[in-house]
């Protein structure tokens, strides 16, 4: 059914929204990628079967909805029962009958499935869960609430209201002015003011213009764009249509990596439904404005997330960056003026137009307005998808939203911005999240990955990891990035393997500066951020690796040995680290519980039950599985070099 005008749209919206208010119960089953991996598809099936068996169906006002990511992936599969917003965590198909009986047929709750943590206790309502309580969701406002494959559900939740206003009541200039008032900056990481980009494109000479959505989210650990595309595709389509109206474009592309099959299929469905409703295509809502969208799938090259490489890829050429001395807003896709924005940027545009730029600008800091979505991952209690106002401190994100470090271990650093970002040390955790502050700290906003690192994370290894990623992902077009990253990686691989040499740090600095200043695109220029930020804040760890052949975190296998503490152990080294579990910091002798024996992947641990165990140093590969498994803190690690020295002493 095609909607012909703004008035017809409002009538339709009211009809579908009222139909939803009348529903007695709605079960929202999270079918985001994380929950799907945890078996939420089976949970969804179980609900359908159980409800049918109990004779509960749409006619009786009971609905089951397959939604996008709810965010709290750590506790998935997640199920929410509306109205009331009762959140059930780690739901298995066998729990479904009980949820149906208590929560749907009656107004009771299944207490054992509620979110529980030590601080907050059991939370009945989703809004009470600390993970959600501290968030402000604009981009993620509807993710987890609507069925991404049902455009009417999206419309009932407010989608396209901004578009109706833009094409029906505003001029393109007014749209750009409204975005300017919002202070919106690019959410892809660099933070370029969106309105300025749009205006540059609008005023650039040319007959044909494009708007492009960058959905090539490739940073390790980042999944916020994926969740947006999977969970609320209409917000993106709406934002792009408004953007196209503002700059005078009639064609748009959404570039999605093909590794996101669910996003590809959800977007394809959404684009088709938007066309059927007349929200894409010719004469949108009777305004005379034409705009259509196509999907372009990326072939798995990280560099195609770089705007100029992305555009070449859409053109069907090899995805390699070009110099951007002439901006894409002047000469971009197919050499036409082009606006390229990140998924998250497009997702908030509709809300800005609908609710006004000033509403958005009330949130955030003086220079960074609104909210920012993050994929919160790493050693954090609640891994998941979060959105907080700009200016929120990293500590709030990790400790309040994320529920603190996993297993109560000490926090060491937070990595932001993926391979182009840096590591912010614990001492700077009160830093407000804001483009300028993060850059000053040697990191960057990036596309929204937040990786929490505990004391068992080696910062040299972290730098090596990102370096290796970028060495593999460099397109190889320019010399500094192609040759320089390879050489840097060789130096880092030497350091973590105990072959560090004096002068390595200076060599790293010289090379890094050459790569930063000399590389063609942002991939190379920012590739050195993980190195420079770890050197800046964790220089001592570099020195330990190079000078003492020691890994203070005890994770570099070539440098680390493990041993089990027995009663009356002579204490070969002062113990690099005490074991922490929860609030306790303990180091106790082995009680022979055998857990480590099961954890060891190479069978290097021997010992009878209830008798102290020992590690066969010849067989041990230094993986640390025993250390992480030990419940009493009886395992400690120390530099291998000390063991070699001690063995030499013993031989004498």
């Amino acid at each position: 059914m095609r909607i012909e005008s703004g008035g017809a749209f409002e009538a339709h919206r009211r009809r579908v929204a009222e139909a939803r208010v009348a529903r007695r119960k709605t079960v929202l089953v999270c079918c985001g990628t994380g929950c799907l991996a945890n078996g939420s598809a089976a949970v969804l099936d179980a609900f359908a079967t159980r409800l049918t068996a109990r004779g509960l169906n749409a006619e009786l006002g009971v609905f089951v909805k397959k939604t996008g990511c709810h965010g709290c992936c750590q506790r998935g599969p997640l199920v929410v029962v509306e109205p009331g917003g009762t959140l059930y965590t780690k739901v298995q198909p066998r729990d479904v009958a009980e949820i149906v009986e208590k929560s749907i047929e009656h107004d009771e709750t299944v207490t054992r499935l509620l979110y529980t943590d030590r601080k907050a206790g059991a939370c009945t309502c989703q809004g009470d869960v600390p993970f959600y309580k501290h968030q402000t969701r604009i981009a993620l406002r509807n993710i987890g609430r609507l069925d991404p494959r049902d455009i009417d559900d999206a419309i009932a939740h407010g989608a396209y209201a901004g578009l109706v206003r833009a094409v029906g009541h505003m001029t393109p200039e007014q749209v750009i002015d409204e975005v300017e008032r919002s202070g919106l900056r690019g959410r892809g990481g660099a933070g370029f003011p969106t309105a300025r980009k749009w205006r540059a494109c609008r005023t650039a000479p040319g007959d044909r213009r494009f708007v492009v959505c960058n959905g090539d989210e490739g940073d390790p650990g980042a999944f916020k764009d994926r969740s947006l595309m999977e969970g609320d595709p209409h917000a993106i389509i709406e934002g792009m249509t408004i953007g196209a109206f503002a700059v005078g474009a009639h064609e748009g592309f959404i570039y999605v990596r093909d590794e996101y099959p669910l996003a590809v299929s959800t977007l394809t469905t959404a684009i088709g439904q938007a066309r059927d409703r007349g929200l894409l295509g010719t004469n949108i809502l009777g305004s005379g404005f034409d705009f259509d969208l196509r999907l372009s799938r990326g072939g798995g090259a990280f560099v195609c997330g770089e705007s100029s490489a992305l555009m070449r890829s859409i053109e069907g050429k090899v995805g390699e960056p070009r110099a951007k001395y002439v901006h894409a807003t002047t000469r971009g896709l197919f050499d036409c003026p082009t606006v390229l924005n990140n998924v998250e940027t497009w997702s908030v545009v509709g809300q800005i137009i609908h609710r006004g730029g000033e509403w958005f600008a009330r949130l955030g800091t003086p220079l960074s307005k609104g909210t920012k979505a993050f994929s919160l991952v790493g050693k954090v209690a609640n891994t998941g998808l979060v959105e907080v106002p700009m200016g929120t401190s990293l500590r709030t994100i990790v400790e309040e939203v994320g529920g603190g470090v996993l297993d109560g271990r000490p926090l060491k650093a937070v990595q932001t911005g993926g391979p182009s970002g840096g590591c912010v040390p614990e001492s700077l955790l009160d830093l407000p999240v804001d483009y300028e502050r993060l850059t000053e700290a040697g990191s960057m906003m990036g596309s929204g990955g937040l990786i929490v690192m505990d004391d068992r994370t080696c910062m040299v290894e972290v730098a090596r990891y990102f370096l290796r990623f970028l060495t593999e992902e460099s397109c190889g077009k320019c010399t500094p990035c192609r040759e320089g990253l390879k050489q840097l990686l060789a130096i880092y691989e030497g350091i973590v393997a105990g072959r560090g040499r004096p002068g390595d740090v200076e060599r790293i600095r010289t090379l890094a500066e050459g790569i930063r200043l000399g590389s063609l695109c942002e991939l190379g220029r920012s590739a050195v951020n993980p190195l420079l930020s770890t050197l800046r804040y964790f220089g001592e760890e570099y020195r330990a690796h190079i000078e003492r052949r020691a890994c203070p975190a005890g994770t570099c296998r070539e440098l680390t040995a493990y041993e089990i503490v027995h009663d009356g152990h002579p204490g070969r080294s002062a113990g690099v680290n005490g074991k922490r579990r929860g609030a306790r910091a303990v180091q106790r002798p082995c009680n022979g519980c055998h857990v480590c024996v099961a954890a060891c992947p190479v069978g290097a641990i021997a010992g009878e039950r209830k008798r102290p165990h020992t590690i066969d140093q010849e067989r041990c590969i230094g993986c640390g599985a025993c250390y992480d498994a030990c419940r009493v803190g009886a395992i400690r690690f120390f530099p291998k070099s000390e063991r070699v020295a001690a063995d030499a002493d013993a031989a004498c």
Partner: protein, 261 residues
């Protein structure tokens, strides 16, 4: 016509010129590897880095590649500032580690005060600096027989599937533009060999020397080249032109001269 200042020298260049062209017009020496006048600027080798600033800019200048930065009015260009020299030095050092035995790279290294590469030397030395000139020349010809394959450190120039390239016409444009002579080819007994393919040569109707491959002639014919343009080699064409000019200067008509020849 924009006017710039390059290392203190004022220079005016035609609209659309690059900073590299302006700098060279101003007498500055800027090394390049991936630049060729006949091809679009590419910005890959990063040797032609310069520092630019504009009136009103604060802080440090911006490091850009001069080969593709448009010459703008009022631009102030420094071709050998400290950061430019240091960065260029790193680039040359890295190239030397990649191509330790390549004379051109060795010369560049010496010019930048580098005796030995500071980094791990390529265990499989090559003469290919990955400047991309060969593939761009091939594309420019409209043939696209070779391309860059793989990415990052394993990037290389190769024909499809590392097999003799079916689209190659043996025109030698790739070998001609290669700055290090890495692209090997040979010619003997009226045959030309390149990229693992052997091409039959067509002989010049004037001097009898082989002058272009049959594939090249076929390719040109298919694109509307006149048969007379394919008959003679370049030397004979020049000779013919010279004869024509001489005749014209003596007052003979071109038709009479043509009839005489």
């Amino acid at each position: 016509m924009p006017t710039l200042r390059v290392d203190g020298v004022r220079v005016t260049v035609p609209a659309g010129a690059t900073v590299l062209a302006a700098a060279r017009a101003a007498g500055a020496e800027i090394p390049t590897l991936c630049h060729h006048e006949g091809l679009e600027p590419w910005g890959g080798c990063r040797l032609c880095l310069v520092e630019i600033s504009k009136p009103g800019w604060t802080g440090e200048g911006k490091i850009v590649t001069s080969c593709n930065y448009p010459a703008e009015d009022g631009l102030v260009v420094r071709t050998s500032g400290e950061r430019v020299v240091a960065t260029r030095r790193v680039v040359v050092d890295l190239l030397l580690a990649r191509c330790p035995g390549t004379p051109l790279v060795q010369r560049l290294a010496r010019e930048h005060g580098i005796e030995e590469a500071s980094y791990e030397v390529n265990p499989e030395p090559t003469d290919c600096v990955l400047c991309g000139l060969c593939t761009r020349a091939c594309d420019r010809m409209g043939v696209s027989a070779i391309a860059s394959v793989s990415r990052g450190a394993s990037r290389a120039i190769a024909p499809p599937f590392n097999q003799p390239p079916p689209d190659c016409i043996g025109c030698l444009a790739c070998a001609e533009v290669c700055p290090t002579g890495h692209i090997a080819w040979s010619e003997a007994d009226g045959r030309r060999t390149i990229w693992g393919r052997v091409f039959e040569m067509q002989r010049c109707e004037g001097c009898g020397r082989p002058h272009l491959t049959a594939a090249q002639a076929g390719w040109a014919r298919a694109r509307g080249a006149a048969e007379q343009d394919l008959r003679l080699c370049d030397a004979c064409k020049r000779e013919q032109l010279a004869r024509t000019l001489r005749a014209v200067s003596r007052g003979e008509t071109v038709a009479a001269q043509a009839a005489a020849s």
